[in-house]
Amino acid sequence: MKRRSAVAGVSLLLGGCDGTPLGYLDPAGPAARAIAGLGWGLIAISAAVCLIVLGLLSYAIGRERPPDSGALGGGSDRKAIRWIAVGTGISTVFLLGAAIWTLWAVRSVTNATTPPGLIIDVTGHQWWWEAHYRSNDPSREFTTANDLVIPVGVPVQVNLHSSDVIHSFWVPRLAGKTDTIPGVTNRTRIQAEREGIYRGQCTEFCGLEHAHMAFFVVAKNPGDFNTWWDHQLQSTTVDAANRGEQVFLDKCAACHAIRGTPAGGILGPNLSHFGSRTTIGAGALPNNSENLAYWIDHTQTVKPGSNMPSLDLPADQVAAVTAFLEGLK
């Protein structure tokens, strides 16, 4: 991964981008890039101000003075006030500059002229994310959860909804935050410059499991993206012989849906093609069979307070349903 060299030094201090998937000063999209530039600029100004004040303060405290006669200082402040005016003047210039830079950044983020290449409706739930892919052809629309797959280089408009409380949609390396507010539809725009998995996070305190409300933006090249979309549209076939599927329909279908099966629950995430997702429980665990089996039986241990109960299924049923879900690639 190529990184801007100017950034590299400080990035090291900030942990480096590989170790900090939420670090927005290492942007991967145009909106985040405009803000990151502003961020570095304001950090530089701020650091300079702190150092200058530290210098002034240290000098003011430690500077050499004529021997103490015990007298009080005082007299006219005029000279000091002239310097204060100079300092305030310089500060004001920098404030003005920062304000103009800010307005420019706001403009470049909000005044997108190119029409979006893709529209996704994202709904925040306690404590997971629902994504509905829009299409001109209604038969190509579908719903998924917690992973947003987008094509590289294409501006994606995200319409933000909430089904319950206020959440905030944030993919730091692609764009700033936008709240999802009940009764309001906010819009934001994300665009990835290169392929990769970008971690996203709810950042508005939304109750017990606010800490475990992550999601992932998976940027694929447009060809792979189209393949992925086509694949998403494929339904699971009902197979009475599949024990895992039967367990799922019996125990999970009240809350979860899988396209092509009778499972149509809407309280929890849609689990169609679950096997291809990055994580379980909105970022609570990496997605693999072992974790999924643990999750199904220990939901309230992994994510206490979440709306999914710990199911306490017999081991064979857990194994079967795990195999079934992980098979839904």
Binding site: D77, A98, T102, D179, Q201
Partner: protein
């Protein structure tokens, strides 16, 4: 011409005034006192107790967050802890602590014998205490407020938070708001009315400017949060639709009302503390403050602009870019008065001759922390950048540099500075310096890395975080820093406890400070001043040495006002003598009124109209008793005056 009074006469006067002004002894006096100094000390002690409580909550959270994926606390416990931590520090510690200083110091600074409304003063304390207990009483039951101090709806609406938690919050905040408003009105009227002759507004200490500005703002801002809380209480208990989307309500209405209050409130928490520095730092620089007028104007203008920036807490809510830009620009403007303040403090040190006593360390340290908290505020003022910064640990860093750097450091410095005046004894200087360095190092270790955590994307208000995001190392440092900081607070407690018993006697003016409070014995007698001082400058005790003009203040004037519990009322701007105020004596009415209100709010909490009615009738009767015109009172005085 006002003449100095002979010493033997003064001795006789002291005995006479002591009899008039002394609070009754025993339990009765303890509940009935209206002495601003005793009330001030109560405010200080209670607020400090809440600081310790909030601090313990913070330490528990820091244990939980020290490493990724720790499970010491359940999410429910963590949410209650961080909510109570915020509520405690912001509502129950920060402002009441400053009220404590102002309550104790104002009449002494202003040359008065008490506040304008001594009983109201007692009332505001008792309500504060009752509201604090009210907010805490559900904590042991696991029903403490759990929606954060900002308490956003609809997460705090009944469907998502069905317990008593949020009702405790809404009613507790309304209850506490009464105390704030009552106290604020008292400060405002005191400065308008109860000053020494000659204490014109261009001679007011900056602490007075700070508290006056904060109080005025509170008067205008508190109703917003009280109303919002009342609406939420109605929504939760009577099914109204202020915030419920299904009935046409608007969740964002809460945020507007809350931040219209919340932002000015934050300034109310720092302006008086900045006043403490502006008044006390010059003492250790052996010169008057540079740019008194500039600092006073900055204080007031910070608050004025502060009423127009609330939306900068709502940059991510999807408001139109134009209005965001306006509020962003206004938020930048607010940095200008702050910059002026910083330059004035530095210039005071520069042109002065610093004496490195422990209070000086806290005030000088404050200047640096103020700047760090200021520039991080400058970064968040930038709306575009704030889309990234908001709700990350960067904001946690910012708010703590503001609230600890700009409130706790001046406050602890102020405790070191005025402790001799409060108690008559000096704090241990060596321990004081240790306290500073431990607190300073601990503070920066605990809060500076939070900036970096924010920049690498750690969201705030999470009870845990996964590994692999680069958060673990910084969090460990932060937790260690938090415990070091706590050690510093412990050192302060040890110092206070030791010095109370065996500290060196202070005498009236141990720091050779210039203002009026240092002209009276430590601790001051109940009547403050044997005779009302007459003021000719900003630094009455330094006049002879500064020799700025020929005029001199008269500290031992023959204006005695010893015919009753009396003090002088002056005109608002120029402080010309205007009238003689007779002050009320000990009274149980304030504590009874506060208890009556507690019954009302307790009744509202459990929606029991009987309790509410009983409480309301009690409140009404107490108020009538309070305001019933006294028949006698000033009659004798008028007879004397003919």
């Amino acid at each position: 011409m006002a003449m100095p009074l002979a010493e033997d006469l003064r001795a006789r006067e002291r005995i006479k005034l002591q009899e008039i002004w002394e609070t009754a002894p025993g339990i009765y006096g303890w509940f009935a006192t209206v002495d601003h100094k005793r009330i001030g000390v109560r405010y200080l002690c209670t607020a400090f107790f809440f600081l310790l409580l909030g601090g313990c909550e913070a330490l528990m959270m820091r244990l939980q967050l020290a490493q990724p994926n720790l499970r010491l606390l359940s999410p429910d416990a963590y949410n209650q802890l961080f909510s109570m931590h915020g509520i405690t520090m912001i509502f129950l510690y920060a402002l009441p602590m400053l009220s404590g200083f102002s309550n104790f110091l104002w009449p002494l600074l202003l040359g008065s014998r008490d506040m304008a409304f001594p009983r109201l003063n007692a009332l505001s304390y008792w309500i504060y205490l009752c509201a604090g207990i009210f907010l805490y009483v559900s904590f042991p039951l696991g029903q403490a407020p759990n929606g954060g101090w900002f308490n956003y709806v609809p997460m705090t609406a009944k469907p998502y938070d069905p317990g008593l938690n949020i009702d405790v919050f809404t009613l507790g905040i309304i209850f506490l708001g009464i105390s704030t408003v009552v106290g604020s009105a008292n400060f405002i009227v005191t400065v308008l009315r109860c000053r020494a002759p000659g204490m014109s507004i261009n001679r007011l200490p900056i602490l007075v400017w700070g508290t006056l500005t904060a109080s005025t703002a509170n008067l205008f801002a508190v109703p917003a949060v009280s109303l919002a809380c009342f609406m939420l209480w109605l929504d939760r208990n009577f099914g109204t639709n202020f915030f419920a989307v299904s009935g046409g309500g608007q969740p964002l209405l809460w945020q507007h009302l809350f931040w219209v209050f919340g932002h000015p409130w934050v300034y109310a928490l720092v302006l008086p503390a900045m006043g403490i520095v502006s008044d006390a730092l010059p003492v250790f620089c052996r010169r008057p403050l540079v740019g008194y007028t500039l600092v006073a104007i900055s204080t007031v203008s910070t608050m004025l602009v502060g009423f127009g920036v609330w939306v900068h807490h709502m940059f991510a809510t999807g408001l139109p870019a134009l209005s965001l830009s306006f509020f962003s620009a206004a938020s930048f403007v607010i940095a200008i008065p702050s910059a002026i303040g910083v330059f004035c403090w530095i210039a005071t040190i520069w042109t002065g001759r610093p004496r490195f006593d422990s209070p000086f360390l806290f005030f000088a340290g404050f200047v640096l922390l103020f700047v760090i908290g200021g520039v991080s505020g400058f970064m968040t003022a930038s709306v575009a950048l704030d889309w990234q910064l908001t709700d990350t640990y960067f904001i946690v860093a910012h708010i703590h540099y503001v609230l600890l750097g700009m409130n706790v450091f001046p406050v602890v410095g102020g405790i070191h500075f005025w402790f001799p005046k409060f108690t008559g004894r000096m704090l241990d200087e060596r321990l004081g310096k240790w306290t500073f360095w431990v607190m300073f190092v601990g503070f920066n270790l605990a809060f500076f890395p939070m900036h970096i955590l924010g920049l690498i994307g750690m969201p705030r208000r999470v009870y845990t975080y996964p590994g692999g995001l680069g958060f673990g190392g910084y969090n460990l440092v932060i937790s260690i820093g938090a415990f070091i900081f706590a050690t510093g607070v412990l050192l302060l407690l040890v110092n206070v406890a030791r010095s109370l018993r065996s500290g060196a006697a202070a005498g009236p003016n141990p720091w050779d400070a210039p203002t009026l409070e240092w002209s009276v014995p430590s601790p001051p007698p109940p009547y403050n001043f044997v005779s009302i001082p007459i003021i000719a400058s900003r630094h009455p005790l330094w006049e002879d040495r500064l020799n700025e003009t020929d005029e001199r203040s008269i500290l031992g004037s023959d204006v005695l006002l010893d015919e009753g519990k009396e003090t002088l009322a002056v005109t608002a701007l120029d402080a010309e003598p205007d009238a003689i105020m007779t002050m009320p004596g000990d009274s149980l009415l304030p504590v009874i009124l506060a208890l009556g209100m507690s019954v009302v709010f307790g009744g509202m909490l459990v929606v029991n109209w009987w309790a509410v009615s009983v409480g309301a009738v009690g409140v009404a009767i107490t108020l009538l008793a309070w305001f019933t015109p006294r028949v006698s009172g000033g009659a004798e005085r008028q007879a004397i005056n003919g």
